[in-house]
């Protein structure tokens, strides 16, 4: 505890200089870092959050249950499926609905596509921060084929709102598996290029190796989550620890590394991209036939929408669903998103809105790493560490 009390230590003789970084800075922005420097060495650093605090939790209390789906997606725009899925899982637990198997597989499919492009996003931003524009251009360029895939599946570029209580919004197009295979082959080829030009690049290694080392016991103690946790040697992944959707049937590995430095965090992301591709291939192979929408709600559709669903395999909710009431009670769900674990906790009093809505995002839980890792390092290491955390401020501030 004492380590947190005196994070900004004021020196008596004015030897230390307070350095304000942001909120307008060359990195991703949205936040201010208050660093105290002694020459070129950062003595301590505190993140100043709240620049993108938009009060999702308060707004959710006056929104209907279905209206909250797009709302929870907004905070983490690069990784929307995780929030969408976590919220719908929590809501389904409250409503007592079980989606059919095909919907479970489609959810898994979208979640993994999203995980890959979220990791590419993280790699790209990391590249900008350590001054490697090539990494940014490559990662953001390679993100586009995946976004295009998700767009074919859901109709939107990044804010999918694909997962709805009781199933998913539309079925996958018939030629989708071939397109996925094409993209996956492309990404596989590209990952080898990344290996040659980025992972084995001496400049990148010099910037990242041994920088910002997070020890295993500290990672556990501080409740870190996601790839940052696994890079410190903790094999915790919600997909394995508390499996949801189709993950129990799927064979994949949890990528961990022991070093805990910025390079390890980067390599865990690259490893997870490979694992996600494995998952996507299995999902497409094992995809069962059947409905994509729970029987319980299908019965409630009016005849014209039933006909529409049968013809196009797209679910359209009638207006009656706007007044979806959840029974009194509470439920909690967690999902492994690209950046880590999303926890959503809903307290309902039986009305049309949740009584209390709580969303804890991975970035918010990882924010403590700034003050923990950026201590007694050089000023030039701040972006290297910041980028390696894949920290997305709107997600942290909600």
């Amino acid at each position: 505890m004492s380590e947190f009390v005196e994070t900004i230590s004021r020196s008596e003789d004015g030897r230390f200089l307070e350095l304000l970084i942001g909120p307008q800075h060359p990195a991703s922005g949205h936040m201010r870092l208050v660093a105290e420097v002694d020459g070129d060495v950062v003595v301590s650093l505190r993140p100043n959050l709240g620049y993108v605090h938009r009060s999702v939790e308060k707004i959710a209390e006056v929104k209907k249950f279905l209206q909250i789906i797009p709302l929870v997606e907004r905070p983490s725009l690069a990784d929307t499926t995780a929030n969408n899925l976590a919220y719908v899982l929590a809501l389904e637990r409250l409503l007592g609905v079980e989606p059919p198997p095909r919907a479970q597989y489609l959810r898994t499919l979208l979640a993994e596509i999203n995980r890959i492009h979220s990791h590419f996003y993280g790699i790209g931003i990391h590249g900008v921060m350590i001054g490697s524009s090539t990494a940014f251009m490559w990662a953001f360029g390679d993100r586009e084929p995946l976004i295009h895939l998700a767009q074919e599946l859901t109709g939107a570029r990044i804010t999918y709102s694909y997962i709805i209580p009781g199933g998913v919004r539309r079925d996958m197009p018939p030629d989708f598996p071939d397109k996925v295979e094409k993209v996956l082959r492309y990404i596989e080829r590209r990952l080898e290029d990344y290996d040659k030009l980025y992972v084995r690049n001496p400049v990148v290694r010099a910037r990242l190796e041994g920088v910002g080392v997070l020890k295993k016991e500290d990672a556990i103690r501080l409740g870190i989550t996601g790839p940052n946790l696994r890079a410190s040697g903790v094999p915790y992944d919600v997909r394995k620890a508390d499996p949801y959707c189709a993950y129990p049937d799927i064979d994949f590995n949890v990528i961990t590394r022991e070093e805990g430095d910025a390079m390890a965090r980067f390599l865990v992301r690259v490893g997870e991209i490979r694992e996600s591709m494995k998952i996507i291939r299995q999902v497409l192979k094992k995809m069962p036939d059947g409905p994509i929408f729970a029987e319980k709600y299908y019965k409630m559709l009016p005849p014209n929408l039933k006909k529409y669903y049968e013809e196009t395999k797209e679910v359209k909710f009638p207006g009656i669903f706007a007044n979806l009431r959840a029974p009194a009670g509470e439920s909690v769900a967690r999902v492994e998103g690209g950046r880590g674990e999303v926890v959503i906790y809903i307290v309902s009093k039986g009305g049309m809105n949740p009584y209390r809505f709580r969303i804890v995002t991975p970035s918010f839980r990882n924010a403590v790493l700034f003050e923990h890792l950026v201590r007694n390092v050089r000023v030039a290491d701040i972006p290297a560490i910041y980028g390696s955390l894949d920290y997305f401020p709107p997600e942290a501030d909600r």
Partner: protein, 157 residues
């Protein structure tokens, strides 16, 4: 490890404290404790292997009580990681104070700070009493309380 075993372990560990342990859902163990015992209970639960906190939620029941809910789980014991441990503390409405669990679980640092900021719960012993997410010059009712009204839409506006 199944749920009953976890519940039994939690009950055994907290046997000398005044707590209420029950199972909620397929993987949720709920522990109700009053604020005098919360640090002691948390310490014992940490001894069981619940080593970090995932979420701290304060709930406002106007003119009745506040409730602080901790969701803890485990990283070091992967069998235990399947379960949520929910620690609930009731606080009187006119005196929303509870001891901070920072010395037991350092992972509550930002989570408790956020609830102090947005709900106005005073976590005693928490070193940070400034604004976290709200602007530094914010004054008035903490925004997540029910008496803080925002605009609504539709017929129930």
């Amino acid at each position: 490890m199944d749920l009953e075993e976890v519940v039994q372990r939690v009950k055994d560990a907290l046997s000398d404290l005044e707590v209420e342990v029950q199972e909620k859902g397929p993987n949720v163990v709920e522990v109700k404790v009053n604020r005098e015992n919360v640090i002691e209970a948390a310490r014992k639960l940490k001894g069981l292997g619940f080593d970090h906190v995932k979420s701290v939620t304060a709930i406002d029941y106007p003119n009745e009580r506040f409730e602080v809910v901790y969701h803890a789980s485990s990283y070091s014991n992967l069998e235990l990681a399947r379960f949520f441990l929910v620690l609930r503390v009731d606080l009187p409405y006119d005196d929303p104070k509870t001891p901070s669990l920072l010395e037991v679980w350092p992972s509550v640092l930002y989570l408790e700070h956020e609830q102090y900021d947005l709900m106005g719960i005073d976590f005693e012993g928490h070193p940070r009493k400034e604004r976290l997410l709200l602007p530094d010059d914010y004054e008035g009712i903490p925004p997540l309380r029910k008496e803080f009204k925002i605009k609504t839409e539709g017929i129930n506006a």
